[in-house]
């Protein structure tokens, strides 16, 4: 961190001020494990260091200290590995990942794990809005609370939130599951197409075309399995919500279109 009054490049969220950043190579590598301190590194340097370790040094277990809520950290990692962030991430943390097992000991900002394809992300603290947006697969566990619109446009995978959630969770969700143990805000599952939401607390209001679903043994098995895997204790009493399938009609063509097809 710069001293008082010292002028430095202000936080460079888009990496535009350092197009020629190079791998800092500051990690302590011990076999397949590596540790580095991100306090004085920029976003690009941290991501370049991660890539260098995982793709070129054969490291499979990285610990990043002091990520300091910087944005866009740990994105686009497409290999199986373990990453631990000792601290909090800013916006767009761990987006576009495919494969890693990530543990974040602090919180995350908006749009964490956006478009995640597979893998596991466990967040010990709170998460911002748009958590797991367009999630395609994998498990995302938030032990704190999440903001608004978690799992917006979710297309697969599972989001488990132990705390409460904001408004319009699962907005336009298409597949996958969300488990929210706490209370949820208004507009739960608004305009959802498919998928399942489980809620433990109070639901402020349901969104358009989101209805209560029928509980089956498969639901019990799923919830218990996930809670067991992540050591979350015994699951609370949950309510199930699904799509009412009144809002859309995929198969019904407009009369004019039908003429064309037939």
């Amino acid at each position: 961190m710069a001293a008082v009054g010292e002028r430095q490049i202000s936080y460079d969220a888009r990496g535009l001020a350092e197009p020629n950043a190079e791998v800092p190579k500051v990690s302590e590598v011990d076999g397949a494990k590596a540790v580095f301190d991100a306090r004085d590194l920029t976003t690009r340097q941290i991501n370049l260091e991660l890539r260098w370790l995982l793709y070129e040094q054969g490291v499979t277990d990285v610990t990043v200290k002091n990520p300091g809520s910087k944005h866009s950290i740990g994105v686009g990692i497409l290999t199986r590995c373990k990453i631990t962030f000792e601290g909090s991430l800013g916006y767009f943390g761990c987006g576009l990942i495919d494969g890693p097992e990530i543990h974040i000991t602090g919180r995350v900002g908006w749009s964490a794990c956006e478009n995640m394809m597979s893998g596991v992300v466990v967040i010990e603290g709170n998460a911002g809005s748009l958590t797991g947006a367009a999630l395609r697969g994998g498990d995302l566990v938030v032990k704190g609370r999440v903001g608004a619109r978690s799992g917006i446009d979710q297309k697969g995978g599972t989001i488990i939130t132990l705390g409460s959630a904001g408004s319009m969770n699962g907005f336009m969700m298409q597949r996958g599951r969300q488990v929210i143990c706490g209370d949820v805000g208004p507009g739960l599952g608004d305009s959802m197409y498919d998928g399942i939401m489980y809620v433990g607390g109070k639901v402020k209001s349901l969104g358009i075309d989101c209805v209560e679903g029928e509980w089956t043994d498969a639901d019990t098995e799923f919830i218990e399995r996930k809670f067991r895997i992540y050591g979350l204790g015994s699951p609370p009493e949950l309510q199930k919500f699904v799509c009412g399938k009144k809002l859309y009609n995929y198969d019904n063509l407009e009369p004019s279109e039908r003429k064309l097809v037939l």
Binding site: G109, A148, M168
Partner: protein, 309 residues
């Protein structure tokens, strides 16, 4: 996009200027166009007036400085005319000034009379509020206005990415809640019923200095408080009355409040500890002033939170 920040120290005055500059500078990427501060120093008996007589990017035509001098003289003459004793006038740039007055009359009358001078805009008026805003990032403005040594108890700040109006000081935040002493607002978002409210508020006698939609919030809160509501009640009411997406922070001499729209469309991260409350559009701004590991959360949609100090 815009970035907003607020801070209250729970145990007396601290290095407010320095901390707010750090917070705003760390969010420069959210708005590089202009930066503004509403700082609360120790309450003073005299009245503090921050005003400007031209904009930073006004064309400097050949009689610019002569005109400025003439208007400056006119403003000071009008202050005296209303019975104020001028203790000091500092010019921090060639167009923005800070005057300290012994004045016990009506503040609205003072503001109106001064703003009648061509080009004059009263940026803030009160016994402890000082609004400083100019083009450029936080470090530029802080240097220009010498804020590094400003000590105080609470403040809000704003970095602006101009979307709804021009890049100039009039369009920069924070906005003073004319004509209320010591009330200011910063806003992140867009208001869609701006013109409706502007017409309504103009009819009830308020003045607008800019084309910026955010100015509505300050004037709206002033109007509601004028009707007898408390700050918190006015903020709750604003959630009903204002359309669009917004997170705004409002400060008065002894309180700081934040309100989020019912969509929670604009971010806000909140950190509370025993010695301070800090809130900002991004956690990175809070980390710029707190160097240990912290736990923060995002308030939900439609929330109104007010801290008294």
């Amino acid at each position: 996009m815009c970035g907003i920040a607020g801070i209250i120290y729970r145990d007396g005055a601290q290095d407010l200027g320095r901390d707010m500059t750090r917070m705003l500078q760390s969010m420069k990427h959210r708005g590089p166009d202009s930066t503004g501060y509403a700082l609360f120093g120790p309450a003073s008996k005299p009245v503090l007036v921050r005003y400007k007589l031209a904009d930073a990017n006004d064309p400097r035509d050949f009689d610019f400085s002569e005109r400025l001098q003439r208007h400056r003289g006119e403003v000071e003459a009008r202050m005296r005319e209303l019975g104020a004793t001028i203790e000091s006038v500092e010019d921090e740039t060639d167009y923005a000034y800070r005057a300290v007055l012994s004045y016990s009359g009506d503040l609205k009358q003072l503001a109106d009379y001064l703003e009648d001078v061509p080009g004059c805009e009263v940026l803030s008026l009160g016994h402890s509020l000082e609004i400083v805003k100019d083009l450029g990032d936080a470090e530029t403005v802080s240097e220009q206005y010498d804020l590094a040594d400003f000590t105080g108890t609470h403040a809000i700040g704003h970095v602006r990415m101009a979307t709804e109006s021009d890049v100039d000081i009039s369009g920069a935040h924070p906005y003073w809640a004319y004509p209320f002493a010591d009330v200011a607002v910063v806003h992140n978002g867009q208001l869609t019923n701006y013109f409706q409210w502007r017409r309504r508020l103009e009819r009830s006698g308020h003045r607008f200095q800019s084309e910026c939609d955010s100015e509505i919030i300050a004037v709206y809160l002033a109007e509601k408080m004028g009707e007898g509501m408390t700050l918190e009640e006015a903020m709750h009411q604003s959630l009903e009355d204002l359309d669009g997406v917004f997170t705004y922070i409002c400060v008065t001499k002894d309180a700081l409040g934040v309100a989020k729209d019912e969509m929670a469309a604009k971010p806000l991260v909140l950190y509370e500890s025993d010695d301070l409350v800090a809130l900002a559009s991004e956690e990175i701004a809070i980390r710029a002033i707190v160097d240990h590991e912290i736990d923060t959360y995002d308030p939900y949609e439609g929330e109104v939170l007010v801290w008294q100090r």
